[in-house]
């Protein structure tokens, strides 16, 4: 209706080719030129009122169509929120959350207080963890509180964190009748890294390498189970107990059984395969750790040997399992037999040394040797 009663004549003060531009729906207007849109005045009084009414009725008619192209000017574009949701952009930020490593349960936060200092409304509060024996501070938080009700979602905390430990969440449905529940404690703030990876994959891909590097360094300075996410403590303990039990029963496949379980969340990270077992070291009582390290080193050596064997297609875990089908055969006996086929025999440690440091060293050395052997074999 409005189209045939309105005429738009576009006149350019400079461009003489204005007439051709008129047909173009998106005319390029040169800088500095004026565009005069002339509307023919309706002859009959009250006609323009009908035109206005026509526009409204036109919108009503077209509103039964869903607006899918933003260039259309009429049509419903409502998203029926609880049922339909718009995809949130990766950079969307609502409330800050803390991250922990899926595999080991270690929190990425080191209690450096950077976020607390920068937070404009001062809603972050934390207590640094202390070594229960020495009383010295360790790089981990024992309690971390964010007052969600006063947080202004500025994201400064996530920007400033040198350890990529605090990130902005996408969850915005926080309304509650229980006001105190908006003061969120550490257990409520912690999310696994895999969760953040799922909501912001590219951001995490950028941060991942340095975050894990720093985490590895920090883990070494955290005694016992300090710095492990509370929700992960049970899981990690269970895993360790399982390993201890198996170790006491002198059954070597412990790492094979535990490592995949723990590693599930970190499957995407390339460096996990060997890092994960080592990562668990710090949380175990030291004498046990030493013994464990030795056993693990032996196992790896064996694995390497197994992989190098003609039956190379067999997965490592399976290989280890087949080696175990002969439980009567002492481990020390089985090992050389397997190693015989590899060119440089892996130096196996027959017994766990009592000295802790020596044990670790031995373990590392054994592992390296085994790896090297495996590589050589593959080449």
């Amino acid at each position: 209706m409005s189209n045939d009663t309105l005429t738009h004549s576009v006149t350019f003060t400079e461009a003489p080719a204005a007439l051709t531009v008129v047909v173009d729906p998106t005319p390029q207007i040169a800088r500095g030129s004026a565009v005069i849109v002339e509307r023919r005045r309706p002859k009959a009084a009250g006609w323009s009122l009908l035109q206005g009414l026509g526009v409204v009725v036109d919108h009503w008619r077209k509103s039964f169509r869903k607006l899918d192209d933003p260039t259309q000017i009429a049509g419903t574009f409502t998203t029926e929120y609880p049922e339909e949701r718009l995809p949130l952009p990766e950079a969307y930020r609502n409330m800050p959350i803390l991250l922990f490593d899926d595999a080991t349960g270690h929190e990425l936060c080191t209690s450096c207080f950077q976020c607390q200092r920068i937070c404009p409304p001062q809603v972050i509060h934390m207590t640094q963890a202390k070594d229960p024996e020495t009383g010295k501070p360790v790089p981990a938080v024992s309690e971390f509180i964010i007052e969600y009700d006063a947080c202004m979602s500025c994201g400064f905390c996530a920007e400033v964190c040198p350890f990529d430990a605090i990130k902005m969440d996408h969850d915005f449905e926080l309304s509650t009748a229980n006001h105190p529940s908006l003061t969120v404690h550490k257990a409520g703030l912690l999310r696994p890294v895999s969760y953040y990876q799922s909501i912001a994959p590219t951001f995490w891909a950028e941060a991942e390498a340095s975050a894990y590097k720093k985490l590895e360094a920090n883990k070494k300075r955290r005694p016992a189970s300090i710095g492990i996410a509370p929700q992960m403590i049970e899981q990690v303990k269970a895993a360790h107990e399982l390993r201890d039990d198996q170790q006491e029963a002198d059954s070597p496949p412990a790492p094979v059984a535990i490592a995949p379980a723990l590693d599930a969340g970190r499957a995407a990270t390339p460096a996990t395969a060997s890092a994960a077992p080592a990562a668990s070291d710090g949380d175990l009582p030291t004498d046990k750790a030493a013994r464990l390290a030795a056993i693990r080193a032996r196992n790896e050596a064996k694995k390497a040997a197994e992989q190098a064997a003609p039956a190379q297609a067999q997965p490592a875990a399976e290989g280890a399992a087949t080696a175990l089908t002969t439980p009567d055969a002492p481990l020390t006996d089985a090992l050389p037999a397997a190693s015989e086929r590899t060119a440089p025999p892996a130096p196996a440690t027959p017994d766990a040394p009592l000295d802790e440091k020596a044990a670790r060293l031995a373990a590392i050395r054994a592992r390296n040797a085994a790896k090297k052997a495996a590589q050589a074999e593959e080449e």
């Binding site: 009414l53 526009v55 919108h59 009503w60 509103s63 419903t76 029926e80």
Partner: protein, 448 residues
């Protein structure tokens, strides 16, 4: 209804009740039905308006409560009931309480004379049209009471505006309806509807036209102009945008309703929506044939009545249903136009409203009455009435007279519209010029 009750009580049950009992029962049933229909209409209209205007604004509107939000008005009603009723300390308590009642009660009376279908009317008053508008004006007293009793300047301003507006738009509304009285020769709304049988040409003018129930008055130039004028006046009476000046929420909070809450507020709301419904219904009745429509006349001719004792009572029911359907369809169509107007136009200023009413609508409707008189003279009068200039014998003569009347009134009405519009535009331009020239905001002498 009298017939139905009489049939049930005396013929079927054999109670032999006296006449007055049948009369009383039938009236009570009708009144009960109407009082049930009125609030239901309001519930539906609020939902209808919200959904329709939402669509006009590219939104969806309330669609959560019940299927597609149909229960939304019920939820709103429940909310209204549970709200606290606050009476201002300095208010005149009794008048404050009475005001919503005085505003809402008269509009329910207006249902009494509205014809819903063939023979479906509560009271077929011979002065139905007059009664309808006389009663509707009483509502205004309620508005003034509300504004006065609230002891609030916004409320008083709103009430004053409401009275000024309703009083000045009552005149064009009634003047524009006079033509229908002339055409039908009666003030009874039933008679006005019955005069609109035919097919584009009313059977009252040309009796040989097939009666399809489409001989609506709006198809004549007189009726069309009257329709436009009346609908504008009806918007002002129903306080609809662009004439919602009495409750202009951006200027005076909510006008006379400012100090009302809870159910008392809902009463005003109810009164307003019933009034809007009735104004739409009366527009449909007077200009668009009311319950007239294709098929109704045939159903009526088949139905049981005093003239046709062999008829089938099923056709009575069918005729009533079809008639009611036509009336409601037309009414909702006009309500849709009201909603579209609300979506399209901004609110007028009070002086613009007055100018428009007194300088444009009233003269126009007066000229329309002249046209209506000419129409009657040309189509119906003969030498006996002293107007035998145009007289043709026989059936084609009626049609020729109709064509002549159509042409004459069309010319008169178009010329009147054009002339008055031009005068008003000039007047407006002159006042605008005076204002921009730094002059006082008084109306300057009209430029020739």
């Amino acid at each position: 209804m009298y017939d139905v009750v009489d049939f049930l009580l005396n013929t079927q049950l054999g109670l032999n009740s006296p006449d007055w009992v049948v009369m009383l029962i039938s009236h009570l049933v009708v009144v009960g039905m109407l009082f049930a229909v009125a609030p239901l209409q309001v519930l539906f209209l609020t939902y209808y308006e919200r959904r329709a205007i939402a669509r006009m604004q590219d939104r969806v509107g309330p669609n959560r409560v019940g299927y597609e939000g149909l229960l939304q008005p019920v939820a709103d009603g429940v909310k209204m009931f549970t709200k606290e009723d606050i009476v201002p300390d300095s208010a005149d308590k009794i008048v404050h309480l009475l005001a919503p009642i005085v505003a809402a009660a008269p509009v329910l009376y207006m249902f009494a004379v509205l014809p819903w279908g063939p023979n479906m009317i509560a009271v077929d008053l011979p002065t139905g049209l007059l009664f309808f508008f006389a009663i509707s004006s009483i509502s205004t007293v309620g508005l003034l009471m509300a504004g006065w009793a609230s002891n609030n300047k916004f409320a008083l301003l709103g009430a004053m505006r409401a009275v000024a507006q309703v009083v000045s738009y009552e005149i064009p509304a009634l003047l524009s309806l006079l033509f229908a009285v002339m055409f039908a020769g009666s003030m009874s709304l039933m008679a006005i509807v019955e005069a609109q049988g035919g097919l584009f040409i009313s059977t009252t003018d040309v009796p040989s036209v097939p009666d399809l129930g489409l001989g609506w008055f709006v198809f004549t130039p007189v009726g069309f102009l009257a329709f436009v004028c009346f609908f504008i006046a009806a918007l002002a009476e129903g306080e609809r945008t662009p004439f919602d000046i009495p409750e202009a929420d951006s200027e005076i909070v909510a006008g006379y309703m400012t100090e009302y809450s809870g159910m008392k507020f809902a009463m005003f709301y109810l009164a307003q929506y019933i009034l809007n419904f009735l104004l739409c219904a009366i527009t449909a009745t007077i200009f668009f044939g009311g319950w007239q429509g294709p098929g109704v006349a045939w159903l009526v001719s088949q139905s049981l009545s005093a003239d046709n004792p062999a008829g089938n009572p099923v056709y009575n029911v069918l005729a009533g249903m079809l008639g009611t359907f036509y009336l409601l369809a037309k009414t909702y169509m006009f309500f849709f136009v009201m909603v579209a107007l609300r979506g399209a136009f901004p609110r007028l200023r009070i002086d613009q409203l007055m100018n428009f009413g007194w300088k444009f609508l009233i003269p126009l409707t007066m000229i329309n009455i002249l046209s209506a008189a000419l129409w009657i003279a040309i189509t119906r009068w003969g030498t006996a009435q002293g107007f035998g200039i145009i007289e043709f014998a026989g059936e084609p003569g009626n049609l020729v007279r109709w064509v002549i009347a159509f042409a004459v009134t069309l010319v008169i009405n178009v010329a009147a519209y054009w002339f008055l519009a031009r005068l008003n535009v000039q007047d407006h331009a002159a006042r605008q010029a005076a204002l921009t020239a730094g002059g006082l905001a008084v109306s300057p002498p009209r430029s020739a």
